[in-house]
């Protein structure tokens, strides 16, 4: 087994292509996570609550994070075997909620990459900003790469 490259730590990837958040995508995601709050699905309810359009559930940022994790997993020298990757931890820290119409760009930084008793752990921080460059949410994912069983 090739260990995860510890030199990954601190690496910053190029910003992803802008992701345009669609109203129907938020509705689809909301249904999928059993969201029942009308602010997630009803434009009038969202506007009455002060938002420009429907508001995404807190975990929707995973859709954007997926784009950065793809960059990390396809990095040739990373040594991350996707078939051995287990999602260990996840965190979202928001400045504001994601709203339909947002154009979001994510930049991944490898916060840590270390090996522990045959397993490796990689913590990836994806900072997600809007079209004006203002911070929206940071998605922090810890991936566990299992060693040989």
């Amino acid at each position: 087994m090739v260990p995860v490259n510890s030199e990954l730590q601190g690496r910053v990837f190029p910003p992803t292509e802008p992701y345009l958040v669609g109203r129907e995508k938020i509705r689809e995601f909301s249904r999928a996570v059993f969201a029942t709050n009308p602010i997630n699905t009803d434009v009038a309810a969202a506007r009455a609550a002060g938002y420009a359009d429907v508001v995404a559930p807190p975990t929707f940022a995973v859709v954007i994070q997926e784009l950065t994790l793809h960059q990390l997993l396809s990095e040739p020298d990373a040594g991350i075997d996707f078939s051995r990757v287990v999602h260990g931890e996840q965190r979202f820290t928001s400045t504001r909620p994601i709203v339909a119409g947002d154009e979001l760009t994510a930049t991944l930084t490898v916060a840590s990459a270390k090996s522990l008793g045959g397993h490796s752990m990689v913590t990836a921080e994806s900072s997600i900003v809007d079209a004006a460059g203002a911070h929206v949410v940071t998605a922090i994912s810890t991936l566990v790469v299992r060693g040989d069983a």
């Binding site: 999928a32 709050n37 602010i39 807190p58 999602h87 965190r91």
Partner: protein
């Protein structure tokens, strides 16, 4: 309206039961873009040593915060949410899987106007998410 002085540490603010089926997993795969086949194919799941199809960890995380949103009344009040994926949730083709969520007040920061809500998320009586904490803005 809920405020930091209308709640107390240890108080249960929400409880819910969710029934996941294979249909739920297919729906979540499409919505999230996570098409890992261990979430819809038993043969693939078993080939990597799993008992069968598992729920996406992110689906469990996504549903577990919903009772807190229903309690606080606005999804935008969730300012921070973290979990550890400690145990998988196998979803039987016929029976599905029932996930239970209990949300309790962990800490209250009156100055910041933030309450930390701690989630206990279980399947079959066992905890499936560790350190599941939601920070809610109550301003």
């Amino acid at each position: 309206m809920i405020s930091t002085d209308s709640i107390s540490v240890g108080e249960v603010v929400a409880e819910a039961e969710f029934r996941l089926t294979r249909d739920s997993l297919v729906r979540y795969a499409g919505a999230s873009g996570d098409f890992n086949p261990i979430h819809y194919r038993d043969d693939v799941a078993q080939s990597v040593g799993l008992p069968g199809v598992l729920a996406h960890g992110m689906l469990t995380m996504g549903i577990a915060v919903q009772p807190v949103i229903d309690w606080v009344g606005d999804p935008a009040k969730i300012v921070d949410y973290q979990v550890r994926f400690t145990r998988p949730v196998p979803v039987d083709a016929a029976e599905g899987a029932t996930v239970n969520v209990v949300a309790k007040v962990g800490t209250i920061d009156i100055e910041a106007g933030i309450a930390r809500i701690d989630l206990t998320v279980t399947f079959g009586g066992e905890t499936v998410l560790g350190k599941a904490q939601v920070r809610v803005s109550l301003d």
